[in-house]
């Protein structure tokens, strides 16, 4: 982006906004007794980088008194979800920790054994242990454990520059979240995830002359209203629907959008790839594809046609257990609409053949000519991204060390592409000390025992046993830190920090937002600042080129060293739209060499994938039956008659967060298991009754929500549950293992490239229990309701 691009995005007013409003206000202004700071928040609290416009009202004493949505934001227009509306309660929560703490290793798991200490002392303890462990075992025995949605999880500089380890590890089996989709897109098209074009980057938004309204939007295994996935403002879907966009919804679970879709395909969980192949087959056989795009810009069309012919609609209908007419209707409706787009969600990643599912969806987008068409799929250009993924590797991780990354031998496609150790093999390394022991850890915005990791008890035992030293970095105590850490470092909320927020984690960015600091809660650092301070303390030579943390943000996020801009030059616009181009493949804007076409070996969208082939994967898509399903495991149907799907989001929580905020907890006080009325009746389960749900991997206690949102063969379990109001000490650990649906989800069932996990397509059984574990909201209110 040029300096001139960092200008306040033009405001498009919502009809419901009154004439008295704050449109046109600068980044900071006075309003009565308040100083108002406009900001685009991005963590903590966690959220994908949407950066919904916020106005923070601070009184004369420097206290945040009022939070309101900022109507100057071109996409969110003043609207907020419950988590930012309650930001004040998060900032001043009595459960927040504002001082570093230490605890003797022998006291791990004892919530009462923490002692407050100074930052200097905490850093000194870290240095002593860090240097000892590096000297004794080597830097590769350090693991940086990351989660999702908070900035800290995206900061490769934590493992590389601060601790010098190649083992940056996202803690979910098979990295089954977004990254498999990014990787598939990168292998096949040369650019990463192509987002639906919702006019977010256009000055006049939906009415912009360059835009064409999407005629048909396919929502594939995605519930964006609740999840705001990867920086996409979910309710933009509703904005489009109100203008006339029609929906096709593909999901085993009914959500609000399914009830508003022209076609809703309620397929059997995990069978999406069969459906996608059949849709391709129909579109090709009925000659509904874009001949010109296929001829000029695709590679391997004939081979793809031949392959998908092995999955006629009739066969897919049987596999997916849906009426065959619906498959025909959906394929035709999608292919005939111009423009049309597919939003492909987390469900695509959470199955063993997720990479094939992605491959098919990308092929659908390509052969219908919807790539880089206004209102179609926006393709990230050659200039996308901010050099963040690789940050710090070159200087701090010599090749020999880099090659020691866990999983490098078995899953080079995974390790080299995303610069992460392969998660499932990391668990094995922790358990077996092979190929080498893992001795030190630190949390990068992750709570694996309550949320990120599958079979969390296994992780718990492995981490407790292997790690000689572990650092917790967070705002609140949680089960993972309580069980495994020796040091706690507190960090700032989004209201207390500066920083950047690029939607969609940089590729397909439509808005560039900036965080401005409005309040101070004791000089706490953001993750970025902490990395700078701690990194400088441990490795002064690596950080000496930056005078302060501010300059690190500029290097890491704004690419100042490669011609980017400084924070002060650009941040006062608060939010700018990122200039976009359509049809980049015709203009030489996708490839680093400036040639036309796509950034793949053939210069085309590779329907027959050179990269997959090179990594030993089938170059063409194929369907595999979920490993744990009534079809693949008929012998287990009596024992586990139900299909288990997990992980649908709600607006109240960001994964395991916000449970200690009374107003959000009240929206969803208990961990819910959705079960169909007929199934519930058969099993003698009443609505609101507690149930035991179990399978061969583990069990959980949840509260039944009897609903038609799932069909008779399926149940859905909420994820991310722990109970901050409960006893934090071992063995209870805030009840994290009691209602933990991840107990039922295995590790080690990824696809050939190391990606994917079956978290949305497993099997289980359910029975009622007589006890009740209902949350007492009065207790939550007493404990957490009084702000400090």
């Amino acid at each position: 982006m040029e300096l001139s691009d960092y200008k306040p995005a033009p405001v498009v007013k919502l009809d419901s906004l009154s004439d008295v409003n704050d449109i046109g206000k600068p980044w900071r202004y006075e309003d009565g007794d308040y100083t108002v700071t406009r900001t685009c928040p991005w963590s903590p609290p966690g959220c994908h980088p949407v950066g919904c416009g916020l106005k923070l009202y601070v009184n004369e004493d420097g206290r945040l008194e009022h939070v309101e949505g900022d109507e100057n934001h071109p996409v969110t227009q003043g609207r907020l979800c419950p988590r930012c509306i309650t930001l004040k309660d998060y900032v001043y929560s009595p459960a927040r920790i504002l001082t570093p703490m230490k605890r003797d290793r022998s006291e791990r798991g004892n919530a009462d054994a923490w002692e407050e200490c100074s930052w200097d002392e905490a850093f000194a303890i870290i240095k002593e242990n860090y240097e000892r462990i590096v000297a004794e075992y080597g830097p590769e025995t350090i693991i940086g454990m990351s989660g999702t949605g908070r900035e800290g999880g995206t900061m490769s500089l934590y493992p590389t520059m601060v601790f010098g380890t190649p083992n940056y590890c996202y803690m979910q089996s098979g990295y089954a979240c977004y990254t498999p989709r990014l990787a598939a897109a990168a292998y096949i098209t040369g650019s990463t995830y192509s987002e639906w074009d919702y006019a977010g980057a256009l000055p006049d938004r939906w009415d912009d002359e360059r835009y064409t309204l999407t005629e048909v939007l396919v929502m594939w295994g995605k519930a964006p209203l609740e999840s705001n996935p990867d920086g996409f403002f979910g309710h933009a879907v509703v904005d489009a629907m109100r203008r006339g966009t029609r929906l096709i919804q593909i999901d085993p679970r009914v959500n609000w959008l399914s009830a508003r879709a022209d076609i809703f395909i309620q397929l059997r969980a995990g069978t999406d790839t069969a459906l996608a192949m059949a849709m391709l087959d129909i579109i090709i056989k009925e000659d509904l594809y874009d001949h010109e795009f296929v001829e000029y810009w695709c590679y391997g069309f004939e081979q793809l046609a031949e392959r998908v012919a092995t999955m006629p609609a009739e066969k897919a209908a049987e596999i997916c257990q849906v009426p065959v007419e619906k498959i025909y209707a959906a394929a035709r409706m999608y292919a005939k609409a111009k423009p049309a787009a597919i939003m492909w969600g987390l469900a695509v990643d959470q199955k063993t053949d997720g990479m094939q599912n992605s491959q098919c969806i990308i092929a659908l987008q390509a052969i219908t000519g919807n790539f880089d068409r206004p209102g179609g799929q926006l393709v990230p250009g050659a200039d996308a991204g901010h050099n963040e993924l690789g940050f710090g590797y070159k200087e701090c991780i010599p090749d020999e060390l880099f090659q020691k990354m866990i999983g490098m031998d078995q899953y080079p496609a995974y390790c080299n592409m995303i610069l992460n150790s392969q998660c499932d093999l990391m668990l094995e390394a922790l358990e077996t000390e092979k190929p080498y022991p893992i001795r030190m850890g630190f949390y990068m915005a992750s709570n694996p025992l309550s949320n990120t990791s599958m079979e969390p008890k296994r992780w718990h035992d492995a981490l407790c046993k292997s790690l000689e030293f572990c650092i917790g970095i967070d705002l609140f105590m949680n089960a993972s830190i309580q069980a495994t850490c020796d040091i706690f470092l507190p960090i700032a909320t989004t209201a207390e920090r500066e920083g950047t927020v690029f939607t969609h984690y940089a590729p397909c960015t439509v808005t560039a937002g900036f965080m401005h600091k409005a309040v101070d809660c004791g000089g706490l650092p953001s993750d970025m600042e902490l990395a700078y301070r701690l990194g400088k303390y441990l490795h002064p030579e690596r950080f000496s080129k930056w005078a302060n943390e501010h300059e690190l943000v500029e290097a890491f996020r704004l690419g100042v060293e490669n011609g980017g801009k400084t924070f002060d030059e650009v941040s006062k616009c608060v939010v700018a739209q990122v200039p976009i181009e359509y049809y980049k493949y015709e203009k030489g804007l996708l490839r680093q060499d400036g040639q036309v076409g796509f950034a793949t070996p053939t210069g085309r969208v590779e329907l027959w994938s050179t990269a997959y082939n090179q990594f030993g994967e089938d170059p063409l898509p194929y369907y595999i039956e979920p490993e744990f399903s009534p079809v693949s495991k008929p012998e287990l149907v009596d024992e586990y008659p139900l299909i288990l799907t997990t992980g649908a989001r709600v607006t109240a929580f960001f994964h395991s967060e916000n449970r200690q905020i009374p107003y959000t907890r009240e929206l969803n006080p208990d961990p819910l298991l959705e079960i169909n009325p007929k199934t519930a009746q058969e099993k003698g389960i009443a609505d609101g009754q507690w149930v035991r749900v179990w399978n061969m991997f583990g069990e959980a206690l949840m509260k039944a929500k009897v609903t038609d949102a799932v069909d008779e063969k399926t149940v859905h379990g909420q994820h991310g549950w722990w109970f901050p109001e409960q006893d934090g000490s071992e063995p209870n650990l805030y009840g994290t293992f009691r209602s933990q649906i991840n107990n039922l989800c295995p590790n080690g069932h990824m696809g050939k490239l190391g990606f994917g996990a079956p978290n949305k397509c497993l099997i289980c059984n359910v029975e009622p229990v007589s006890e009740s574990y209902d949350t007492d909201m009065n207790l939550i209110w007493e404990k957490f309701g009084k702000l400090v």
Binding site: L14, G69, L225, W781
Partner: protein
């Protein structure tokens, strides 16, 4: 006296609950009490195979229509934050006209009643 109300387009209300939380924040309402509640009808399947699912945000007897804000010319706090942008505040007279223009809306005219 002019009557004011909230017009809600329930065809597009997604049940996000921002209105509920916004109302509690601005009025400091303790847990267990609400100024507006999103009632939930669905999902249930109709004979044609389509699902019915409507969310109906219903002001309670604690809703004062954010008179402090509207007196200053601002809109109610729930209206400001509604994620789907389906809430409108105005005079009953104006809002009633809008009711005629688009189906699947509901008009509430709340007033904290005392018994």
């Amino acid at each position: 006296m002019t009557a004011y109300g909230l017009l809600i387009d329930y065809e597009f209300c997604t049940g996000c609950q921002s209105c509920e939380v916004a109302c509690k924040e601005i009025h400091n309402i303790p847990v267990g009490q609400w100024g507006i509640r999103v009632l939930d009808d669905g999902p249930w399947e109709c004979s044609d195979g389509k699902f019915n699912w409507n969310k109906i945000p219903t002001p309670t007897r604690l809703c004062d229509l954010c008179v402090e804000r509207t007196d200053k010319g601002q809109q109610p706090f729930c209206v400001h934050h509604c994620l789907a942008g389906v809430m409108q505040w105005g005079t009953v007279e104006d809002l009633a006209k809008e009711l005629e223009e688009k189906p699947n809306q509901v008009l509430f005219v709340p007033k904290p009643y005392q018994y």
